[in-house]
């Protein structure tokens, strides 16, 4: 007997070690909701690895910052100019969209809808990954100390990244949306079809549970549906790249993730989501005209002899007792509309011009007179025809 045991000693030990591990796996699978069964081993492993990762990331970031902030300044001026133009365009777009949003809020209030808002986020740096193709997950440098909790959504400016799976003292493990065990409630932006976004073996993502008789077009944007109670509704998940008939009456929809999951450096952890009923904005939509009105002096009623667009507008200086003096308002931005340049668009409804800018249409009721801002209490005579590119300041 002893000779048999001695002869097969190594094999017996192998079977024993394998048996113990299989037993451990079985316990974990059985307690799938209990993460504490293997927590100690995970904490040890993460504690051993994460300090090195943090140091390495810190060195890399510092070196990168030094390069970008001091040495690599070529083209910054041109980029700055482009960004300023983009900001102008986006401001105009924002004014237009705020009106739509306000209208939507009013309708939602009528229907007693409840909306989810991201009210608090925590920025975190990606310091490591699981290092396995079978488990697509990343480590971030924020943990319990920063108020991170399991099942919090992780996003970037581009879209959804994943959710927090395990939280340690100063790090957290984030399960990416392209992991095979991941699932996100999804909705198609235009067709409003709902499904589940899942990761595939090859690290791509696909939308499941969309019936094959539905029409889904390539290029359609996929958003979070909010049904999973983890991700707030309306966050971009990706874009449909391919649609094919699948098995079991469902479509095979391939989706390209909105966030670049292979090059993540900084992410935002959604630490607080507010759910509240939409209320219509009491102050009304913010119009370009209103913004201008805050910056310009009071406009008295037009004198009978005042001309149409292009003529100077009189401005009353409150409290000074001086006679009104003409002032010419400058156009907000680069809109090549001569009629606007001469008139004061404060009391007019802005409508988007073909160039994307706001153009005065007609005076709005009740807004013929606007109060002067504190900065412009004195009567000012504006210079004659201003350049079209000037801002109204």
């Amino acid at each position: 007997m002893e000779s048999v045991l001695g002869r097969y000693r190594n094999l017996i030990v192998l079977v024993g070690v394998l048996f113990i591990q299989v037993l451990g796996l079985a316990v974990q699978v059985r307690r799938s909701t209990d993460t504490d069964s293997s927590r100690l081993i995970r904490v040890w492993a993460v504690t051993a690895i994460s300090p090195f990762e943090k140091v390495l990331v810190w060195v890399q970031t510092s070196t990168g910052n030094l390069w970008h902030n001091y040495f690599y300044l070529r083209g910054v001026r041109a980029e700055n100019r482009e960004l300023k133009q983009q900001i102008e365009q986006m401001r105009i777009e924002q004014v237009r969209m705020s009106q739509d949003a306000d209208q939507a809020r009013r309708l939602q209030a009528l229907l007693a809808f409840k909306e989810q808002f991201i009210s608090q986020t925590k920025a975190a740096q990606v310091i490591g990954s699981s290092g396995s193709e079978q488990s697509r997950s990343i480590y971030i440098d924020k943990g319990e100390n920063a108020g991170i909790k399991p099942d919090m959504a992780v996003i970037t400016a581009d879209g959804v990244v994943g959710k927090v799976l395990h939280v340690y003292r100063s790090t957290s493990l984030v399960l990416l949306i392209n992991d095979q065990s991941s699932g996100v409630g999804a909705i198609l932006e235009k067709s409003r079809l709902q499904g589940i976004l899942r990761g595939t073996a090859s690290g791509e993502i696909g939308m499941e549970k969309v019936m094959s008789d539905e029409q889904v077009a390539a290029g359609e944007v996929v958003l979070t549906s909010g049904g999973d109670r983890i991700f707030p509704k309306g966050l971009p998940l990706g874009r449909v790249t391919r649609v094919a008939p699948g098995s079991d009456l469902f479509l095979n929809i391939e989706v390209k993730p909105a966030a670049n999951l292979s090059k993540l450096e900084e992410v935002l952890v959604v630490t607080k989501i507010d759910e509240r009923q939409a209320t219509p904005d009491q102050t009304g939509p913010v119009r370009a005209a209103d913004i201008l009105a805050e910056r310009l002096p009071t406009v008295p009623p037009k004198p009978p002899d005042a001309g149409a667009g292009g003529s100077p507008t009189t401005v009353e200086a409150p409290g000074t007792g001086t006679a009104p003096r003409p002032v010419q308002a400058k156009p907000k931005s680069a809109a090549p509309t001569p009629g606007v340049a001469g008139s004061l668009p404060v009391a007019s409804k802005p409508t988007p011009s073909p160039t994307g800018d706001n153009v005065t249409e007609k005076p709005a009721a009740g807004s013929a007179t606007v109060k002067a801002s504190p900065k412009t209490e004195k009567p000012v005579e504006a210079p004659t025809p201003p350049p079209a590119q000037d801002s109204p300041q």
């Binding site: 192998l14 079985a26 990954s129 079978q134 990343i138």
Partner: protein, 172 residues
Amino acid sequence: MAITYTSGEQVEVYRFGIPATILIPLAAVFLQAWLPLRLHFFSIFDLPLLVTISFAMARRSQMAGLFTGALIGLFQDALTSQPIGLYGISKTVVGFGASSLGIKLDVENAGARLLLTLVFYVVHQVVYFTVARGMVGLQKGWTWQHELGSALANAFLGVILYALLDRLKQRT
């Protein structure tokens, strides 16, 4: 000098110093976790597996091989989002197998190392997928093309890595 005789052929047994025994697997797991963030393609490699094979083949001890594999695998498991034990079981089998073959074959030349790493990578993946699907119920996709490509890439990297690790091993 401890020498194992197999089929009349003299096979030398090596060992690694304690710092190398601890730091090399740690470095392998660390690099495996960190490099894919910068070099995305690196996730097809399995550095901990290569270290397991290298240690097992050099030591030529089945006990040492299986325990090395088990510990490295469990450590790797602990960093993933999956249940702990999947890599542990796979690397235990590979560690035992590599050390068993190390006793019987000459694993000092690059050709044999390339072939062995290729075979052991496939064995590792087969065990992993079997346990993941059969026991844990994970829906893992298997494509031969991808697995063989990864096996070949790992085999080539393994040959280079073994040559580097050869410098750290000491004759017993």
